[in-house]
């Protein structure tokens, strides 16, 4: 093939993952704005129904969750990362007291910066999924059902 496939540079993947985690545990829209594209979406499922919300709605809910802020970088693991030209993908597992949350994020390099344009969630514990995905959308009435 005449094009290049490479592993997402470890430094970039770590920076993105850490910024995403910081934004989530703090519910900080400013940090989120530095790592998520303005049109980015958060995607999940509740009882088989697809739910999506924007980053602002997600941050509002994360803020209300009051997740413990200590040891942010001990609570996630980059499982897989890949890049092709100006797009990439990242698999992240987050460890919470009541279960693990795995997300696949698609990335784009825009104006020289890598940004998350979608984060699709899968939780090992359903209630965690409902809290972190559907709850955020339901609370802000920004979801759209299947």
């Amino acid at each position: 093939m005449g094009y290049e496939h490479q592993s997402l540079e470890t430094g970039i993947a770590s920076q993105i993952a850490h910024a995403v985690m910081e934004a989530i545990v703090r519910g900080d829209a400013k940090i989120a704005g530095e790592v998520f594209h303005p049109d980015a979406t958060i995607t999940g499922q509740q009882d088989g129904i697809l739910v999506r919300c924007d980053v602002q709605a997600y941050m509002e809910y994360c803020r209300r969750l009051r997740l413990p802020r200590r040891g942010v970088n001990l609570r996630y693991q980059i499982e897989w990362a890949d890049v092709s030209g100006p797009i990439g993908a990242l698999k992240l597992t987050e460890i919470y007291p009541h279960g693990e949350l795995t997300s696949y994020m698609t990335l784009s390099k825009v104006n020289g910066r890598w940004l998350v344009n979608n984060r699709t969630l899968h939780a090992a514990v359903q209630t965690l999924s409902e809290n972190l995905v559907s709850g955020s959308c339901n609370d802000t009435a920004k979801l759209s059902g299947q």
């Binding site: 890949d82 092709s84 100006p86 698999k91 698609t106 899968h122 299947q146």
Partner: protein
């Protein structure tokens, strides 16, 4: 969960996507994509976000091939976690070589569940739509 079966199911979705696009088969596209699917990527010098309807309209406006025409594509990887997965592939369509990441969800964890694409991220690596300016 039967990972072999899950891979086969996802592969079928990818084939529906490719054949739907290359052959202009709207039914296959609607089978492959969730109605709320979003696409995001780089074409020429434009970074774009758009919903499924716009993608289908774009396909219909292109010179599609007749059903059964051979096409070039390679499914490079499938990664699955429960009811969420990501597939990476390269394909040639309408004179453009693309690389795609397809994020899929399954609406039920049991074998009756259906995988569909919810997000597609893409870029052009050769042919029509290649950026004029070098990426920074």
């Amino acid at each position: 969960m039967d990972f072999g079966a899950e891979h086969d199911d996802i592969r079928r979705v990818v084939i529906d996507y490719l054949e739907g696009m290359v052959w202009g088969d709207e039914q296959k596209l609607h089978r492959a994509f969730h109605p709320q699917a979003l696409q995001v990527g780089h074409f020429a010098d434009v970074y774009e976000f758009f919903p499924l309807d716009e993608f289908v309209a774009w396909v219909k406006a292109e010179e599609t091939q007749t059903d059964g025409t051979p096409y070039r594509a390679e499914l490079l990887s499938i990664e699955i976690t429960g009811t969420v997965a990501i597939a990476k592939l390269t394909d040639t369509c309408f004179g453009t070589d693309f690389t795609d990441y397809l994020v899929l969800v399954k609406n039920r964890p049991d074998p009756s569940g259906k995988w569909q694409i919810v997000t597609k991220a893409y870029h052009v690596h050769s042919g029509r739509g290649l950026p004029v300016t070098a990426p920074s």
